[in-house]
């Protein structure tokens, strides 16, 4: 069983961002980067499948500048077997262009299963996985919360609003992973040491045409500070007036 997992390096989201002077990316100084959460679940699921089968190979693929190697090593440290960096130094925001590069790498790689996180936690486009499936001509099940791979079939569960559906398709296939499926393990030092010796191949990314470009990043406007208009009963008429006239919610 050959599994590929496509992963993305994203900044830690629990901080307040600043926009870089270029206006096209966030200011990276002081930011910590890690694998996107959903991609982490995907790597964990892939590793668990090979562990359960006692055979198979998990290849992790990431597109970007050399700093994605750190992210790839992290995936290797929790059990992936091989890594590929599709080298491209400038930031790319078009999911289609990225999907083209990934498809070019995956095509002919003999993968039975290709996995993605259901979205990258930073840009939240949800497009790369399904676009790649389309380019590869493979069936895709998106945002799955449970996965069984058996006898050349994929059985998956998708959470819906208040319900779920069970879907199946035959291999080879693409799946994108939602949360709740598995928690990525904490890399042991043993894993980190082993990761240093696992193969990491660097290839130029064969990026497709970028059909949309990011024009400008902006922070949302700061919320205006609250106003105290008085205390007790006496303040009510004024509050009602403001809600009517200024906020226009009444």
């Amino acid at each position: 069983m050959k599994i590929a997992v496509c992963i993305k390096r994203v900044p830690d989201m629990d901080v307040r961002f600043k926009i870089a002077p270029s206006g096209l990316t966030v200011d990276e100084s002081g930011l910590k980067f890690d694998m996107s959460d959903f991609d982490g679940y995907a790597v964990e699921v892939a590793v668990q499948i090979t562990e359960k089968l006692g055979a198979g190979e998990v290849t992790v693929i990431s597109l970007g500048a050399d700093n994605v190697q750190e992210t790839l090593r992290k995936a290797l440290s929790i059990g992936a077997h091989k890594a590929v960096q599709l080298k491209h130094d400038a930031p790319v925001s078009d999911g289609y262009a990225i999907a083209t590069a990934l498809a070019a790498e995956l095509q002919g790689g003999g993968y039975d299963l290709v996995m993605f996180g259901r979205m990258a936690v930073d840009t939240q486009n949800r497009s790369t996985g399904v676009l790649t499936a389309e380019l590869l001509g493979m069936p895709v099940i998106s945002a799955i919360s449970k996965l069984d791979v058996e006898n050349g079939m994929v059985k998956a569960r998708r959470e819906l609003e208040g319900a779920f559906e069970l879907v199946e398709t035959s291999l080879p296939a693409v799946v994108t992973i939602d949360e709740g499926i598995a928690r990525p393990r904490y890399p042991s030092l043993k894993g980190i040491m082993a990761a240093k010796k696992k193969p990491l191949e660097v290839k130029p990314a064969q990026l497709g045409e970028q059909r949309y470009v990011l024009e400008k990043l902006e922070l949302p406007a700061e919320r205006a500070a609250g106003r105290i208009i008085g205390e007790g009963k006496d303040a009510v008429p004024e509050l009602v007036r403001l809600l009517k006239e200024e906020a226009k919610v009444l």
Binding site: V15, R16, G30, P187
Partner: protein
């Protein structure tokens, strides 16, 4: 030379031969352990430990009942050893006696001491047996102990004394000219005056034989008994580092670059040989377990069991590793498939430890139970990624955001907004250098309650006109939670980053209100090239107060307040700071009544937060912080003073949950409250 001398010489040779064979066998077992060359430096300090802890039984006396009892037996053994040697030499050299070697007053002194100490040992042994058989002394019990062994040993010692007295008594009966140098023995002999002298002479010889055979038997029983401590404890005290030389409680760095197959220890052969020797020296006295906060509150951890397990597993596995076929028990593959971790000591035991060091402090023979626990934890985390799942976010956050809590690192210095406190970076830009760097720590930077302490301490520094700075965003977690939880990899990452930052600014003096930061920066960062003078805020405030540098209002008309001070483990047992915080409270509150809890200073009970327990759930038994809060409330104090942000959280939570009106303050808050 008579036949009996020849027989005895043979018996003696066999006995000594067998004893030395067994000692060598056990030393061979120690050789399977990891190398540890930190045991031979600073001989004078080690000799001093040997004298005060070994010879003067300093730690033994921490128990007021067992202390004198054991000291009597131990000192008795030292004195009686001379007599035993005489008895043995008598056995091989016809007619040998110290009488011919020692001039008279010396001989009389020697003989008198044999007599008196013999009686004292007999009395102490009698008391010990009585205590074990009739009083259910809690600390002497426990599933892991070998309860019959001490009974056998005590009876054996009793028999040694009885045969010694009887042999001497029948000499008095048998030989009218025997000098009257042993009054007690002589008194015993008066009970046997009806025995005819020639029979008495034979009986004297018989009891001599009984005595020396018991001695040699005892010697050869030791290697198989928990009483191996009779032989192992003195060397152990000499080789131990738990009372120095050097700083105590410091974890040794791991080599993370090397090609280690196993990280930390999973089994005995990955522990240091000294930890293995600790197993041989353990007396099963249970003093450690009786003070262990985890054990006291119903958790599955017993530090005594840890040491007993080390010895059990060593004696099980070592024969297979050393090729000692006589002692190989069971199937080789089955034995080799087991390990100390899991088969003897469970994960749950290991995670129950708060690293409070009470066990180490209490152990009369200077064992280091804690280092075994920490080595096994290292293996769990680094080797197998096994730890309570609630710890994962703390690990990830330490790595990602430099704090065990998921706060934005950019907010680290936020507490200081509007206080006009410069960062090191700002000072450096102006080409200035502070008198001290105030290292705030994660709790002090992000925890709402601890932030009040931080602000209070900063105000004190400002009031005392100390020129200080903070690191702000550049500060990171000191790494202690990671290191104590076994995550040395993460720890070293943080420590190295911090050392780099501190060295970049040429920092010399650091003051901090967190005992964990204090211990790390002062005692463990030197391992990574960080050498600073680190002062805890208790000591710092005490000296500012003593120098009259803090303007405090006279409060002679304020109501009298009763405080009790809770000792932080990392300030107290790890660093010996007991007086400074008490001094601060007294000086800041001229009308203060300071009461002590029953367990205080080096006997203080942990708050329950150390060793990463702060980030773990406490599911079994009573909560440790509840146990401690109850003790504090029971003193009748109206306020509890602490000097550690973690103790603050733990005690505050517990006091609040008990609906008590007792308030919890950091000592800095007490002083800041009095600022003029």
């Amino acid at each position: 030379m008579t036949d009996s001398h020849v027989v005895f010489a043979i018996v003696l040779a066999v006995a000594l031969g067998y004893f030395s064979y067994n000692v060598q066998r056990l030393i061979g077992y120690l050789r399977i352990g990891r190398l540890d060359d930190s045991r031979w430096g600073n001989i004078p300090a080690r000799l001093w430990n040997l004298i005060r802890i070994g010879i003067f039984q300093e730690k033994i006396f921490r128990d007021s009942v067992a202390g004198p009892m054991h000291a009597a037996i131990f000192w008795g053994f030292c004195v009686l050893g001379a007599g035993t040697l005489e008895a043995i030499l008598e056995g091989v050299i016809p007619g040998f006696s110290y009488r011919d070697l020692l001039i008279d007053p010396a001989y009389r002194f020697y003989a008198l001491n044999q007599d008196l100490w013999g009686a004292l040992v007999l009395a102490a042994v009698g008391f010990a047996l009585f205590r074990r058989l009739t009083k259910r002394v809690k600390r002497l019990m426990g599933a892991e102990t070998h309860p019959n062994d001490p009974l056998l040993i005590l009876s054996w010692i009793g028999a040694l004394m009885v045969t010694m007295f009887l042999a001497g008594a029948f000499l008095y009966v048998g030989y009218a000219d025997e000098p009257l140098v042993r009054p007690l023995t002589y008194a015993v002999s008066r009970a046997f005056t009806w025995v005819n002298p020639s029979t008495a002479r034979l009986l004297a010889e018989d009891f001599w034989w009984a005595h020396v055979l018991l001695v040699l038997g005892f010697l050869n029983y030791l290697p198989f008994s928990k009483h191996l401590h009779v032989v192992a404890s003195l060397p152990n005290v000499f080789l131990s580092n738990t009372s120095g030389p050097g700083q105590v409680g410091v974890m040794q760095p791991m080599d993370l670059e090397g090609d280690a197959e196993v990280f930390g220890a999973k089994d005995v052969d990955q522990l240091s040989w000294k930890s293995l020797m600790d197993g041989f020296a353990c007396t099963e006295c249970g003093r450690c377990t009786s003070v262990c906060p985890a054990n006291l509150t119903g958790k599955p951890l017993s530090p005594r069991k840890i040491m007993i397990n080390v010895r059990e597993r060593l004696e099980q596995k070592a024969p297979f590793l050393t090729g000692d076929t006589t002692y190989q028990k069971g199937d080789r593959d089955a034995v080799m498939a087991k390990s100390l971790l899991d088969d003897f000591i469970t994960e749950e035991e290991l995670w129950s430890c708060t690293t409070c060091r009470a066990c180490v402090q209490e152990c009369p023979v200077s064992l280091d139970q804690l280092s075994v626990i920490l080595e096994l934890r290292r293996n769990l985390v680094l080797g197998e990624s096994r730890f309570p799942e609630e710890v994962m976010p703390a690990f990830e956050s330490m790595e990602q955001r430099g704090s065990p809590w998921a706060f934005d690192p950019g907010d680290r210095g936020k507490w200081a907004d509007g206080m006009n406190i410069p960062t090191m970076a700002e000072m450096a830009e102006r080409g200035e250098r502070p008198e001290v760097l105030y290292w705030v720590g994660c709790a002090g930077s992000f925890d709402d309650r601890a932030k009040k302490t931080t602000v209070a301490f900063a105000k004190i520094l400002q009031a005392a006109e100390v020129k200080f700075a903070i690191l702000g965003q550049e500060e990171k977690c000191n790494g202690d939670p990671a290191r104590r939880m076994g995550n040395e990899y993460l720890y070293q990452m943080l420590a190295k980053d911090n050392v780099e930052t501190l060295n970049k600014y040429g920092v010399r003096t650091v003051v901090t209100a967190c005992p964990h930061c204090f211990h790390q920066l002062g005692n463990e960062y030197p391992q990574f090239g960080g050498d600073y003078e680190v002062v805890h805020h208790s000591t710092y405030i005490a000296s500012l107060l003593a120098a009259g540098r803090i303007p405090i209002v006279e409060a002679l008309h304020a109501p009298v307040r009763t405080f009790t001070y809770h000792d932080s483990c990392y300030l107290g047992r790890y660093n010996g700071v007991y007086e400074a915080p008490r001094d601060v409270i007294k000086r800041a509150l001229p009308i203060v009544n300071l009461v002590e809890m029953e367990r205080s200073k080096d006997k203080g009970l942990c708050c329950g937060a150390g060793g990463g327990r702060m980030w773990m759930e406490e599911k079994t038994g009573k909560r440790i912080n509840a146990e401690r809060a109850d003790e504090a409330i029971a003193t009748g104090a109206d306020a509890i003073a602490v000097a550690c942000p973690f103790c603050m959280t733990m005690l505050n939570d517990s006091v609040t949950s008990r609906d008590s009106h007792v308030a919890v303050y950091d000592i800095a808050e007490v002083v800041a409250d009095r600022l003029a």
